[in-house]
Symmetry: C2
Subunit: 181 residues, 2 copies
């Protein structure tokens, strides 16, 4: 068992992870970026396949180009750094890879948040996926869909979910059998 203080810190920090889409221009400290990637590397995956690679982008011109691709990735333009997830792209394991991509993204956000660094998940769709692979030199058979925008939150940035909130727990939870509250 962790100490009560550590337990409460961990839980509060987990609960408070929020999407941040507007960033200060300050670069990320190297140790923070390294720790984020290290946490990412240890993410669990189906059959321990670890079907992922990371392209770290800090070049402003490239971030701006990527931010204009098809999808919901505009926030890359103002990010201190972007991480483009390169998934193996095995057509027989699409669902597993997508699930593992979600696990990985959550971890990256949390590791950043441990440092007070905000983040946002972006999705490339359609031609945006093809173009991102071309721009970054990624082999065409890979699945490139998820981007993470990282940076210190801009002053006055209101994280989305503070505004929109979440469903109450009693609506979501059933005990022993669906419908039993």
């Amino acid at each position: 068992m962790p100490s009560e203080e550590r337990l409460q810190d961990r839980l509060a920090w987990l609960r408070r992870l929020r999407t941040v889409r507007r960033f200060r221009p300050d670069p990320l400290p190297e140790p923070a970026l390294r720790d984020i990637l290290e946490v990412a590397r240890w993410t669990g995956s189906a059959k321990n396949l670890q079907p992922w690679e990371f392209v770290v982008v800090r070049d402003r011109t490239m971030l701006e180009r990527l931010s204009q691709l098809d999808g919901f990735v505009w926030h890359l333009a103002g990010a201190a750094a972007g991480i483009v997830l390169v998934m193996a792209g095995d057509p027989q394991r699409r669902a597993q890879e997508t699930f593992d991509e979600g696990r990985l993204s959550e971890r990256i956000q949390l590791a950043a948040w441990a440092y007070g660094i905000g983040s946002s998940i972006g999705w490339l769709v359609g031609d945006g996926q093809t173009e991102a692979k071309r721009l970054l030199g990624i082999p065409p058979e890979r699945l490139v869909r998820t981007t993470l925008s990282l940076g210190y939150p801009a002053a006055g940035e209101q994280p989305t979910s503070v505004i929109r909130g979440r469903k109450p727990l009693h609506e979501l939870t059933h005990y022993e059998r669906y419908g039993q509250r």
Copy 2:
């Protein structure tokens, strides 16, 4: 910025999350279960749709029945509690739901781990999904695929990834462009 001590605790705890599949029979304390669900509730999702509900199963007979269904869920039999994720099942949003299901699962594992509670993700496949819905009274249109087995690690339990490890970071990481190390 968090204090250095908290930062290191958070990062170490994130890095050390491992799958645990054999459990002590001790029940989970109510506050721990409540906090796990509370963290789960705050998981981010595409368009903040929160396309999930949770069925918490502690009945031993039901856990054993579920553990025998098609898929990789045998570890439910010995879990102190199982959480069955009930996803909305929108066929137009299958990829998003699968990705969000991964984010949610990762959070549940981390929240449990904050308490020293081990966990394992299970997947139901084929008839196993249909049967789980029937056993738990879940409407057939929902997507029921992921289960989480939770419990205190059994004495001597060797978490899988300690044995199998992970790929080194330099193999996974590219800078600015794919192939640039």
